[in-house]
Amino acid sequence: MSSEKNTPITRRHLLRSSGAVVATGVVLAACGGGTHNSVTRIGESPESEPLPNAEVTDVVLLRTAQSVEKMLADMMTDSRITSLVSGETAALVAAFAAAHQRHVAEIAPLVTSRGGEPVNERNQKLMTAYGENVLSLIEEGGNPEDVLAAALGLETLMAATYQYAVSLTVEPALRADMMRLGAQSSRRAAVVAQLINPGTKAFAPGVDENGNATVATLPSAFGPLSTVQISVGPKNEAGTGTTVLMDTPSLNSLLYVL
């Protein structure tokens, strides 16, 4: 004999009440936003401030591009890089760094003419995400070839940053200005690729005698927006360094105007 006859909660009750709770919660959540001073509480509790509304605008994209250009300029003049290269490579890296710093200045009037405030600081989010890691690994490895590998990755990243920004930019004329800058980084990437793996044979993707992928000057028909992957730092038993993945700025690394 069962005593469940007297159980006050049936499955139907449970379903009904849980449905009502969910629906009520949803309605309350949607209706939220007012002040809640009427709730009795003990002690002092700081008022929470709503997060500022962050919009992706043309000015935000320009400021972000400036911060990435500045990051590249800083990285290429960092002593951990400059101490490893000499001669023609050193001159080339220095020229690349100067070009990036020049771009920071060239973007400034585009920002101010749109009512924004230009930046001359590196993108700290990206620096933390991979920039510092790349510099530390290059220092640990002490291999001059890593400087070219990093330069290729960073220039590819810069070109992709502008290309991606085009898809978010509202003003058509500004898209052209961005691509004029992006094309310059793309040129530099091709030159570095040729320094790493020279000749027309290196235009197309290929493999070396060990079956490892070689650096291609023209890796694809269209500009890629995928993650840029570089291998730098001390070599392991297989002869490869540490793989670092670098992404173009995204929503969490844009320089918003708040």
Binding site: S2, E4, A99, V166, S167, A221
Partner: protein
Amino acid sequence: MEQIQSQSPETPTTSRRQLLASLLAGGALAAAAPVLTSRASAATSDIPKRDSRDNSALNAALQRESQMAATYALAVEATSNEDDKAALLLIHDHHLEYVDTLIGYLATEAEKPSGRAIASPSGSFSSIATQLAALEDETIAIHTNNLAGLIGVNAASLVSSIITMEARHSAALSIVAGASPQAAARV
């Protein structure tokens, strides 16, 4: 084990259908809440994806790319070294991909490109590569100027991805033609 469920007929009941309906309504409300309670967070959401006013500029890009492909075809014929030939053929194929993609984008609005070569590169490979690099630069300038007038963001994204690689074509050709790295990189 016997289970007995009692139900008072007087109690207003919620049918499964009603329950599901209310949950669905709640879900829809929850999904809409961010939109209803805050203004759109990205100005970029206002950008038109596609605009028929871009068709003329895109057809001009298509025409240019078909001419570039034809020019590379002549350059391949004028080149003897197998590696050099393969490199030029690779860039030729890139331009053909741009032609195909632009035709695909324009669909019925695509105009038949002439496919006439812009030039007939000749001489040493260095000379051919230099001529082709100059044509790549011209093409980049045409696309970049057109980009400033494109309204739809999809067309703008397509053209910008072409510009990125054509800049690489130009620099790569310059360096194999004998330019210094600084000159090829324009720094």
